[in-house]
Amino acid sequence: MIKLRLPGWARLPRQPLLRHLLFGAVGVAFFYVLSISLSDFNDFQLGEVGVYAIAIAGLSVLTGVNGQISLGQGAFLAVGAYTLGELEVHQSINLVLQLLIAVAVSALVGLIIAVPATRLRGPYLAGMTLLLALALPFLSDKYSSFFGGDQGLITLPPNAPGSIDPQRWLTWIQLFCALLVVVLLANVLSSRFGRSFRAVRDNEVAASLAGVHVARTKVIAFVISSACAGLAGALLVLSTGVVNTGEFPLSLSIYLLAGMVLGGAGTLTGAWWGAILVVYLPNQWSQSIANAFHANHLVGANLAVIIFGAVLIVVMLAAPAGVQGGLRWLGHRLVTVSTGPKPAGNISVTLQDQPVSKQDRDGPESDRAATSID
């Protein structure tokens, strides 16, 4: 056990907004350095990590924090993607406006689905969103003149200012959006909304007795999740350059679910671990593994799917808290950080299961009691 005693100025700010903005700024610096030191192709994949982190973070809020499960995350990605595609085809407007419209449209579709969905519990909602993920691609078959049929719609990468490499510029846009979304979600989760999300997840009756409007809370969580997915879809087609239904199979929804489960349901940091898995496993790792074992091409083509399935099962059976849960546990076991005199009012921080709760571990006995509630 390592005990760290930090001076007072090194303590994280206690206001959630400041703390999250600080993390966001560190993220911006980190990704800037990372992206300029990577090649074009690696930049492309780094941008995709950001995109999938947005989708998984939304799913994580919905499933991990609010306790609703959605298999339709891929469908909402498609909504955002097609919205951006239509905007690009029919008129050229500002990229920021395009992204905002894509978010608004997918949030609206999410709202329409959420109203019946929030009356449902676990398996019913899972079945309905599964049907949504399977059914939505058929709309583009039926109305192929509008949705571009099998070829889909063509999108152009955004123009980079000055002499910046276009691919790098797109990666920056994607990563900036991802950091922005994560900071916003972190704020939502530490607000009144976040507390009601958790209260509804843990016990709907108790939550409604405590004055939480259960149905409205579930709708809000669902809309947040679908808005995130819509933004991710719109950002994704900026780099793929084409929108068609082949980009959004059922397996995409299941990959996102697996990424969320692996990273740790309900944690925003975990969304990044999940996104790394979703980007690198199908494209690179599965091929390397297949080559290492001299597997035939059928195995190579299906290895990623098999691993995603195995990840879902194994993580759920063995470590439902996922990677982030494991890291937190490890962090608590190995390092305790204390920051001089304890600030008052820490108990409420512990009850909100904030990521800084490691500050509390070294406190006096009264705080031990609080952590055991957590």
Binding site: T63, G67, I69, L71, P116, R119, L120, R121, G122, P123, Y124, A126, G127, M128, L130, L131, L132, L134, A135, F138, L139, D141, K142, E204, V205, L250, S251, I254, L257, A258, V261, L298, V299, A301, N302, L303, A304, V305, I306, I307, F308, G309, A310, V311, L312, I313, M316, L317, P320
Partner: protein, 292 residues
């Protein structure tokens, strides 16, 4: 008018296929409160095993029996290895595990048999029967579908109503604690329930495969249609599953026949939403208070 009757006949045989998958979902849900989203993928796997057995040149019926036997084993193994550990965890865990199994089995089937579309032989001729002088959209194979699914339903009904095993299974499903105190081996009966459900699924796979493209994902849509059927039927009544299957099959046949096949999944989604909005407990189940 002839179009209408042909669509109706097609809807009946489709609906009975949905019913057999729905029956599997209901058997499992009733006993364990879990929706087995891997029901379709498990059926896909047993059908591919039958496909390999057929490739050995042993004829249709041995392969048919092998598929059902594999279903029996697969259902039990899945319950023992994967479902038991999450049985008493939050319901989302079981949902996620069955989804993991869904995609795992599809990946395995793709790795073994490939992802291309194939054809699967039918037990009987698939050309339409001739009534009077006109050929109708109902073949010998459709007759086989009707007979096979009805036989399955009757067997399930007989099992639950007239045998000690069926009584024990019902007791284990409805009052596990009391049944356990009376000496019923509840956990083994749950395993057996999964086995029976997987046999129903295996039958459905053999009935669907000749009528559609045969690839590792061929049961995906059938599964969600069967889920719709099971929800319409109330999720805990085997008879409701059959009626729900017929309702879903007919409704989707009319949507597909008159509005275009691409709208069938959208039609199912609309049906599911409407039913869940109006009667979340299903059309045929007695409404019960939700347990909190």
């Amino acid at each position: 008018m002839r179009l209408f009757w042909n669509i109706t006949l097609g809807g009946v045989s489709e609906g009975l296929i949905f019913a057999s998958v729905a029956l599997g979902l209901v058997l499992i849900f009733r006993a364990t409160n879990i929706i087995n989203f891997a029901q379709g993928a498990m059926a896909m796997l047993t059908t591919f095993i039958a496909f390999s057995v057929l490739g050995k040149g042993v004829g249709y019926w041995p392969a048919f029996v092998v598929a059902l036997a594999c279903g029996l084993v697969l259902g039990g193994v899945v319950q023992l290895v994967l479902i038991r550990p999450v049985q008493n965890k939050p319901p989302l865990n079981a949902v996620i595990v069955t989804f993991g199994l869904l995609i795992l089995l599809e990946g395995l089937a793709g790795a073994i048999w490939g992802n291309s579309n194939r054809g699967f032989p039918a037990a009987f001729s698939q050309s339409g029967l001739v009534v009077g002088h006109t050929s109708i959209a109902f073949s010998h194979f459709d007759v086989f579908i009707v007979v096979a699914v009805l036989a399955l339903v009757v067997l399930v009904a007989l099992l639950f109503r007239f045998t000690t095993l069926g009584l024990r299974m019902r007791a284990a499903a409805f009052a596990p604690e009391a049944a356990r105190l009376l000496g019923v081996r509840v956990s083994w009966l749950l395993t057996l329930g999964w086995s029976f459900a997987a046999v129903a699924g295996a039958l459905a796979g053999l009935l669907v495969a000749p009528t559609s493209v045969f690839s590792p994902t061929f049961m995906d849509l059938i599964l969600v249609y069967a889920f719709t059927a099971a929800v319409i039927g109330g999720l805990d009544s085997p008879l409701g599953a059959v009626i729900g299957g017929l309702v879903t099959g007919l409704a989707l046949a009319y949507v597909g026949g008159y509005l275009g096949g691409a709208l069938e999944p959208i039609g199912a989604l609309v049906m599911l939403i409407v039913v869940l909005m109006i009667r979340p407990e299903g059309l045929f189940a007695r409404p019960t208070a939700r347990r909190v």
